[in-house]
Symmetry: C2
Subunit: 224 residues, 2 copies
Amino acid sequence: MINNEDLAYLKEQLGFWDKLSQKEKQLLVSNVYSINYKKGENLHGRDKDCVGHILVKSGELRVYILSEEGRDITLYRLTPGETCVLSASCVMNYISFDVLIDAEQDTEVLLLNIGAFGMLKEGNIHVENYAYKVAADRFSDIMWAMEQILFASFDKRLAVFLYDESARNKSNKINLTHEQIAKYVGSAREVVSRTLKNFESQGILKLSRGNLNIINKEKLRELI
Amino acid sequence: MINNEDLAYLKEQLGFWDKLSQKEKQLLVSNVYSINYKKGENLHGRDKDCVGHILVKSGELRVYILSEEGRDITLYRLTPGETCVLSASCVMNYISFDVLIDAEQDTEVLLLNIGAFGMLKEGNIHVENYAYKVAADRFSDIMWAMEQILFASFDKRLAVFLYDESARNKSNKINLTHEQIAKYVGSAREVVSRTLKNFESQGILKLSRGNLNIINKEKLRELI
């Protein structure tokens, strides 16, 4: 059970709330929990149970795929106000692949547990339709990520990432290691380090341990 | 308009037929056409109008993405009895990316035109839900293709392709050029040629102009 403020937030985010019967509303409300995940914690993955429908309250989640050899590729990230249904894919018959979800920062979510979500989805076409629409929306992000990885030259890809990251954080300083950046852009650490050094030699940025500073944003933009 | 046989086939394939009102059924029936596409013809793409909902009657369609530099990657193929809604993505608000669709062989489809499909989708949640479910199903194919491209070693990827292709055609002979295979597996022709030659030297297959013969299926299987 959650408090009234959280409930109001949830109702606002769930497009189907008004289409639920009184009984369904009760089922939903009594199966929503506010949950905190620590930075780095895995909340959905291959060997984990399917958790349910997630609404991010604060923090950030990262959704990714992982190869057998441990190579990981970021599909998209979820920030406050965003919902995720791929963490409930086990009750969505038309989705037959798996993603992993980690907390990128300490993150608080409202979680509608998988049993209740499954029942609502089975019993009410508006819930089912909502779920597949949210999934389609995410697939559009995934396609974008894939096209970036498959088609864009690496310089451009990395420049796009740094530019977006800087805009997102409203700062020219990016607090990520080369290893972390490599994971986000779907490449190897060596390739990232090499390209960043190249950017540094062009006067675009300044590297230091564990972070980098964009010193010529205009020049970075020209690469995009 | 279409004949009774085609109509019966269509009703069977469209999960939402029974949920349509009499008026909606009429709208649908009077906006379905049987259309023939020649091998190689493009039926949906960036500069083309969105055609509508497609049901394949005979032949084969290929759905792919294309980079600015002309590199193309096959997402999935559609064979008789399969439907496609990405060719109607312009009326699906939650899908914001574009694919291209070509006829791989002479292909006959039943096409529900985009205007009627859009109206049915807007007016009837069962149609909308059907569309997003079919899309989710295809996205699972897309994720599989992407994982193959991003994660599998090339030898394995090519072996999987040849094995599947042989099973699909019920023949050990594969009538495709190296160029065509490269498109299917999302690689360069040179890489395909090199790997096929390597397979030939291992006694797995025999290459000839424009086709190849799998001569040791067991050995091919071991690569997968």
